[in-house]
Symmetry: C2
Amino acid sequence: MSRIPLAPIDRIMRKAGADRISEDAKQRLRTAVEELGDEIAEDSDRAAEHADRKTIRKEDIDLAVEV
Amino acid sequence: MSRIPLAPIDRIMRKAGADRISEDAKQRLRTAVEELGDEIAEDSDRAAEHADRKTIRKEDIDLAVEV
């Protein structure tokens, strides 16, 4: 199962101003971001179904993020 | 600059039930997830500052996610 790697998570935290970051903080942010991704993915799946499509499109993600 | 790779994004979408996914849908979800990560990272940075620490800890992420 491919999880989000910690390198881009570290980059996101440093970009936000973090200098020192504990290892479990990175893992916690990774999990949080994956869970938010799960929710958006589920909503976008429903949005595509609602539009009678089998392919998830960018506009389904837009709807899931905005609504 | 290390972005979140598309493989874990694809995995998140398939786990949510997606069979077919357009390429720009994956890229859109990646961007959405990165932006949510940015917000949590900024809030956790403030949470650590608030606690007079220079190191971001797991509990700072918890606070940023929950509040």
